[in-house]
Amino acid sequence: MPDSSFVKLDNLSKSYLGPEGSILALKKTCLAIEESEFIAIMGPSGSGKSTLLSILGAMNPPTGGTLEVDGINVYSLGQERLADFRREYLGFVFQQLQLIPYLTAVENTMLPLVVKRIADKRGLALEALAKVDLKDKAGRLPNQLSGGEQARVAIARAIVNSADLILADEPTGNLDSENSKNIMNLFLELKKDGHIIVVVTHSLEDASYADRIVNIKDGLINDNGKESKS
């Protein structure tokens, strides 16, 4: 694993306590992600994809190993500093998009900026909406937008804070093929802008946009056909 990697997962494990004892969701996982890289994580249901994404998202502390982002040992931070970390480094596109129903497109996009010390938050949010070609619908509530448009608002919210790492959990799961293509093309553009994209997907077509496909099964990573070894 190169030391210069922007994101480094080192011997990362995660176990949960289930009704029948401890379940090992991730097994000593090692992964390195470089700047401006587009990665697709694939695997069957229950393989550990979402667990891996939530650990990358600084929301789910591993039971073993470390996650380093930009030289920061992420899980050595306290809870409040983890929140600061998410605000500064990460952008999320959730599986159900998770837009706040009572906020307009621009207000949803502005969310990561609300608690940031910067000027012209609305201007930045409109700029992000312009990138996803939705500036003209900035004042609409989520229920006044189509599924594809909602997905684009979710992406705008993920990039509004100039996040280095964009994590997307099955972003095209509820979209038709046309909208899916548009979304994946948007990710490609964001990659060109220097963002790291990590997309969890079941779709081979979506995965084909990525620089690298990471397969995961039973908590074990097979990176481009190579299972991680530690």
């Binding site: 929301m59 600061d84 959730f94 706040i100 010390r117 938050k121």
Partner: protein, 432 residues
């Protein structure tokens, strides 16, 4: 990178930050109107009940004091006697009249005006009582200062001349003082007021002339029978009486009326006793003691009812906010995922509750004010509005109502807010 520099740095634009969070809170209130209405209504009803009970209690207190004022004298000052008076139930069994240690004089009236609570002394009415000869028969004259006596004897009813200003009934005691100050000033020094029995005995009617110790007086008014000792005497100007009885500046006793809304009568009695050590000062509060006892029970009931209502309101806020937080688990997860700190989540929840609490407090006070305005004239018709004027909004009570609603709302919502802030974002978003 930028993160390393911002960690640990305190936000300086706190004002802008709060404004944004409040906007999120306002948007959520708009979206969840039913829950918001339930929460505000719970607080509003509690404040309404508290304001109404408080106002009625205050009005009842003022009502009692109004009745006390109507009762007339509530302080009686008489000279101290050297011996124990040998009299019982108005029957004097002493063969010789006992003599006071020191006679009272008009100077004592001036001394009364120097006590610390002198502003509570509303009316001071000195009197001189003595026997006089009328048509060869002995009668009792009471020397009075018409202006003061007629303000105390508000229940007197007259035939003949009516005292000037007496009929000016007003709600505010301050105005009462101003208006009643002129009562009786239309009586001249050579005019008298005759008691009903006295007038009957000497066959007097308004306009009659009587000769008292050789001086002629005109009967200006005759009192209607009242069943009191006032029926048996006639009233004359005090200075004139002192002259006729040859007792210059001397007085027999002093009746006084005090505002006792905020002046405990015993305190006034103590102060007057200290100032006039040779006199016996009596506080006459027994007439309303029973009503005060009833009021004390009602006050306790009001406090207990208000406390129960406020506790119920706190529970309504608590359960509503707990349910709201549960319902908003995902939303809170999103806020946390995009970088909101725990304190930001608490600020959003608390902003909602505070806004609704203030609204509940305001509406509670206003509805309580309207209900009180309808009930007070029925329950306490003689409330003078010394502290509560049903025509005006009481800013102090309004402020306390809003503050109480705010504190109850904030206190009851704190636990749900902290619980919300402690939600794990990963499980909230069902990553796990």
């Amino acid at each position: 990178m930028h993160f390393k520099t911002i960690v640990g740095v305190r936000h300086k634009d706190a004002e802008e930050l709060e404004m944004r969070l409040i906007l999120i809170a306002i948007n959520n209130i708009e979206r969840r109107k039913t829950k918001a209405i339930i929460l505000a209504a719970g607080l509003s009803i509690a404040v309404l009940a508290t304001v109404t009970l408080f106002t009625i209690t205050v009005a009842m207190r003022e009502n009692i004091d109004g009745q006390l004022d109507e009762f007339g004298t509530n302080i009686l000052i008489i000279p101290k006697y050297k011996e124990i008076p040998l009299s019982y139930a108005g029957i004097n069994v002493s063969s010789v009249d006992s003599q006071p240690a020191k006679e009272l004089s008009v100077k004592d009236v001036s001394l009364m005006r120097t006590i610390p609570n002198r502003q509570n002394l509303n009316i001071i009415s000195p009197k001189l009582v003595g026997p006089v000869k009328i048509s060869g028969q002995t009668a009792l004259v009471v020397g009075i200062q018409f202006a003061n006596e007629l303000r105390i004897k508000t229940w007197w009813q007259y035939t003949g001349k009516q005292p000037k200003g007496k009929q000016d009934a007003v709600a505010n005691p301050r105005d009462l003082v101003k208006k009643r100050a002129v009562a009786g000033t239309n009586y001249k020094r050579n005019e008298v007021i005759a008691g009903a029995v006295f007038a009957k005995k000497f066959k007097l009617k308004p306009g009659s002339k009587i000769s008292v110790n050789g001086l002629t007086f005109k009967v200006a008014s005759v009192l209607k029978p009242a069943g009191s000792s006032d029926d048996n005497v006639f009233f004359m100007n005090l200075t004139k009486t002192q002259k006729i009885l040859n007792k210059p500046r001397q007085i027999s006793f002093i009746e006084a009326n005090a505002y006792c809304l905020d002046c405990p009568l015993p305190k006034l009695v103590r102060q007057l006793s200290k100032k006039l050590p040779y006199a016996k000062v009596l506080g006459l509060r027994a007439a309303v003691a029973q009503k005060e006892q009833t009021l004390a029970v009602f006050t306790a009931f009001s406090i207990a009812s208000s406390a129960i209502m406020l506790i119920v309101a706190a529970l309504v806020v608590f359960t509503t906010m707990t349910a709201s937080v549960k319902e908003r688990t995902r939303e809170i997860g999103i806020f946390r995922a995009v970088g909101f700190r725990k304190k930001h989540i608490i600020a959003i929840i608390m902003s909602e509750v505070v806004l609704l609490s203030i609204a509940g407090g305001l509406t509670g006070y206003l509805t309580g004010f309207i209900v009180s305005k309808m009930l007070v004239p029925v329950i306490a018709p003689q409330a003078k509005g010394f502290y509560f004027n049903p025509s005006n909004i009481n800013v102090v009570v309004l402020g306390i109502s809003v503050l109480a609603a705010f504190l109850i709302g904030a206190f009851a919502a704190l636990l749900p807010a902290v619980r919300a802030a402690n939600k794990d974002p990963a499980s909230a978003l069902r990553f796990i």
